[in-house]
Structure formats: structure tokens, C-alpha cells
């Protein structure tokens, strides 16, 4: 099975210059790969570094050491050392991301927030909006909200907009940071269906799911992040 993303020996720490430069190690020796058509889940308690790993894979956090090799277009790219411009191209074409919280933009409607990633990939705006409508309907977001900017939506409504935005494209790699945290049972099931459809389409998924039932339903493999705790390697 193809492995579109390989992480090897990645380490990350935060240096807090405002706190006398203390160094907070987050993870080290992170090595794993994810496979097309599978959903890999990062497991471990809060604070183990799961979100930090996802953010490094998306280029949102800098990487101290190691490599993140991703298959992008016809070549391989090391995201840990890629230029901002390359990271942007990878985000547009190769790696999608559903963050924990939606960052809202003033005055842009929910429908356009969802359609935007497709438009950025060159899709016609009206076709993108059509797909956005279908996804929002599938996620049971009331139609009267579609034309409104999501800033005033409830947490669960915002999260569904965020999920639709992440799932609308055909990125070969999809990162999911607790996409079901504030959803009810019905919508959790919709997300499980959406993930199954992505797997069937050959997408490589990597996610964090605190919800036990969702994790059981989607995970093909669980990676225990506590194995990457800094200090473990020194032994």
C-alpha cells in the first residue's frame, strides 16, 4: 500500500523567551508513516503532543529536528525544511486539515467558507458552492444559516462548517484534529461515514479522536504518542 507521508525522527520543543528562555520539550524521536486508504489515529493523554504532531505535519508549527517526507505532485518534499511557498502549495494540493476550531472571517458566508478550498484549487465558484451545499446538508446544518458568516454560530455548528471545509476537497492526505469534539450522536455518525468514504477513495487520514466510539469506528491503527515523550530516547 502506498505511504504518502513518512515522519522520521522528528523532535519539537518550545523555547519560552519571556520565561527566561526555558525550554519545554514536546516530543522527540517521532517516527511513523501513514498509508493510503487507512485512518491512523494518534493516541495518548492530553499534553502528550498529539496536536503538536499534526500541526508540524501541516507546517503550522516549526520542526526542530527530523524529516517529514510527503509525496507532493510528482516528487517528494521534506516539509520540515520546505519554504513557505512550498508549504502553501502542499496545503493547496496535498494535505488537508480540519482544525479543532474554525477561524472565522468577517462577512464571509458559511457556504463560501466551505467552498473556498475548492475555489483555491481552481474549481468554478458555482460548482464549489454546489458541493458545499451538499456537504452542509449532509451534516444537518440548517439551510437558513448557509448565507450567514459563521462567527455567531454555536460551537457545534461552527465545527460542522469546519468539517465540511476540510472534507470538500480531494486532498490525498487529510489531518483531523478532534473533528467530533462538540457534535451530537447523529452528526458524529455523519463524520464516521465521511471518513469511511475518504478511506474508500484512497485518502490517507491521520486523526486525533478523544471520543471512544468514533475512534473504534474509524481507526485502522493507533499510534501511542507517549512513546515519543522526550527523554524516553535518552535511555
Amino acid at each position: 500500500m502506498p505511504t504518502p507521508l513518512v515522519v522520521s525522527d522528528v523532535a519539537k520543543s518550545f523555547t519560552m523567551h519571556l520565561r527566561d528562555g526555558i525550554k519545554l520539550p514536546v516530543v522527540s524521536g517521532v517516527s511513523f508513516s501513514i498509508k493510503a486508504g487507512e485512518c491512523t489515529v494518534l493516541g495518548g493523554p492530553s499534553g502528550a503532543g498529539k496536536s503538536s504532531i499534526l500541526k508540524m505535519l501541516y507546517g503550522n508549527y516549526a520542526v526542530d529536528e527530523g524529516q517529514i517526507i510527503v509525496k507532493h505532485e510528482d516528487g517528494l518534499i521534506d516539509l520540515a525544511h520546505a519554504s513557505p511557498r512550498t508549504v502553501l502549495a502542499v496545503r493547496r494540493q496535498t494535505i488537508g486539515y480540519v482544525s479543532q476550531f474554525l477561524r472565522t472571517v468577517p462577512r464571509v458566508s458559511a457556504l463560501d467558507v466551505v467552498a473556498e478550498p475548492l475555489v483555491e484549487r481552481g474549481e468554478e465558484r458555482e460548482i464549489a458552492r454546489g458541493k458545499a451545499r451538499a456537504l452542509l446538508a449532509q451534516l444537518n446544518l440548517p439551510e437558513k444559516l448557509w448565507a450567514l458568516p459563521p462567527a455567531t454560530f454555536s460551537g457545534g455548528e461552527q465545527q460542522r462548517v469546519n468539517i465540511a471545509r476540510g472534507f470538500i476537497t480531494e486532498h490525498p492526505i487529510l489531518l483531523l484534529d478532534e473533528p467530533t469534539a462538540s457534535l451530537d450522536a447523529t452528526n458524529r455518525d455523519v463524520v464516521i461515514e465521511l471518513i469511511a468514504a475518504k478511506k474508500a477513495a484512497g485518502v490517507a487520514l491521520l486523526g486525533i479522536f478523544h471520543d471512544h466510539d468514533v475512534r473504534e469506528a474509524v481507526a485502522d491503527r493507533i499510534i501511542d504518542v507517549t512513546a515519543f515523550a522526550p527523554g524516553k530516547l535518552a535511555a
Binding site: M16, G59, N60, A62, P84, R85, V105, R107, V108
Partner: protein
């Protein structure tokens, strides 16, 4: 997307006597990219912007710009006339204070039309129609076209300044604190408008701001300046979510939460 940058800046420095304006700044800017330059007052960001837009000449360093014919030209070796022509046709400059970028005593329509005439348009009807179109794109009602900007609110003036700058289809726009001095609801409207125009027109832009929220909303890439030097640069969300330089950490931690 083209494989060549639109602007290449290398080791640009500007000294005012012994004082540092900006020191050894280098970067490339590609078409369609928005670069935010952030830092507090006196950090050199406006000096940098003025050097790049050739309103100031640097003490040392180079900046080359890819002209429409695909050839790179060294900005500081062009003649004054060539630079003025570039400024009128291929570039825009949005000032913090609209009065600096507008002619306050001619009508709104003339403010937009004047730029068109500068690039050779002569047909009155066409110029007026384009002006009306641009005023509506920046959400100014058609019946205000014959009013002078003196009679406009601050937000309207700023939108008019943007229309005046974008009407000639520039490829690169410089913006100096484009939302400074506007109240927040007006700011949100302007930001949304700018964001849409930049995406639709595929503009490259260099935006100087001290407001990190503005930078996050408008830009993909960011440079953080302190005492004339670039202390950190990278993807905007990376710089803001994982700031590495001590000064960037201080800036990010100083944002007031609403």
C-alpha cells in the same frame, strides 16, 4: 503560478545618517502572494515599504522587479520617469491616511478616472463606466460619483483610495497600515473587501501593519521587524502560532483577547 518571483530584494539597507532605518533585508515575492511586514512603530517597516516602492532610495542593496515583458529590472537604476511610469501603471500604493493618496478637491469619479487617463484611456464614457464599476466594487453608491472625497467618511475615503489604486489592474500593491485609524466595524468591512479583491485579481501585495489580526487575515507570509532588522519570517500562521524569536513571542503574547 509562475516559477519566477515578481520582486527580488537583496540586502536592502537604509541609514539616516548613523541611525538605522532598515538593515540587510532580503526576500522574494511571488505573484498572488501577500506579505505582511509587522513590528512596532520605529521598527523600520515603513522605511522598508518606502524603499521598495522607490519613494525613498536605499543606502545599499538591490531590488529587481519582473516587468510585464518578463525581464527583471533593477529598480534603483531606473530613471525617475521610468519609476513614475511603473508607479502609475503596474503598482499601487495605499496610504494609511487616504488624504495622502487621493485628490481631495476633485470628484470621486475623477479620482478613479485620473489613473485610467494616466495609462492612456481617453474615452470619457468608458472612463466613467469603469469608475462606476470600481466604485460599486468598493461599495460606494453610484450617486456619490460626483462628490468630492472631502465629503466622505474615513472608511469611504479609504475604499475610494483602494479603487483608485486597483483600477489600472496593477500587479503589485503596497499598503501602509490600510486599516489604521478606522473603527472596528469599518475595518472588518475593508479587510473583507481587500481580501476578496486580492484573491480575485491575483495581486501581489506588501502590507505594513502593526495589527497582527490584520496580518493573519490578509497575508500568507510574514516578516517581523525590530530595530530595522527582520527578526523572524515565515508562513503567517506558523509565525503567529509558533513564534520563535523573543521579540515575536513578546508581540504575540501582547495581543489583547476579546
Amino acid at each position: 503560478m509562475t516559477d519566477e518571483p515578481l520582486l527580488r530584494v537583496s540586502a536592502l539597507s537604509k541609514f539616516y545618517g548613523s541611525r538605522v532605518g532598515c538593515d540587510n533585508v532580503s526576500f522574494d515575492l511571488w505573484p498572488g502572494e501577500v506579505l505582511a511586514v509587522v513590528g512596532e512603530s520605529g521598527s523600520g517597516k515603513t522605511t522598508l515599504l518606502n524603499c521598495l516602492s522607490t519613494r525613498l532610495l536605499p543606502s545599499s542593496g538591490t531590488a529587481s522587479y519582473r516587468m510585464r515583458d518578463g525581464q527583471f529590472r533593477e529598480l534603483y537604476r531606473m530613471s525617475e520617469a521610468e519609476r513614475r511610469f511603473l508607479m502609475r501603471t503596474d503598482w499601487g500604493f495605499v496610504h494609511q491616511n487616504p488624504a495622502d493618496g487621493l485628490r481631495m478637491t476633485v470628484s470621486a469619479g475623477a479620482n478613479v478616472g485620473e489613473r485610467l487617463m494616466a495609462v492612456g484611456d481617453r474615452h470619457y464614457g468608458k472612463i466613467r463606466a469603469t469608475a462606476v464599476d470600481w466604485l460599486s466594487r468598493v461599495e460606494i453608491e453610484e450617486d456619490r460619483i460626483d462628490d468630492e472625497p472631502r465629503a466622505f467618511s474615513g472608511g469611504m475615503r479609504q475604499r475610494l483610495q483602494i479603487a483608485r489604486n486597483l483600477v489600472t489592474g496593477p500587479r503589485l500593491v503596497f499598503m501602509d497600515e490600510p486599516t489604521g485609524g478606522l473603527d472596528v466595524s469599518v475595518q472588518a468591512r475593508l479587510l473583507d473587501l481587500l481580501r476578496g479583491l486580492v484573491t480575485d485579481l491575483g495581486l501581489a501585495a506588501i502590507v505594513v501593519t502593526h495589527d497582527l489580526a490584520v496580518a493573519r487575515l490578509l497575508s500568507q507570509r510574514m516578516m517581523v521587524m525590530k530595530d530595522g532588522r527582520v527578526v523572524e519570517s515565515g508562513l503567517t500562521d506558523r509565525v503567529l502560532d509558533d513564534p520563535r524569536a523573543p521579540y515575536t513571542q513578546l508581540l504575540v503574547s501582547s495581543i489583547l483577547q476579546v
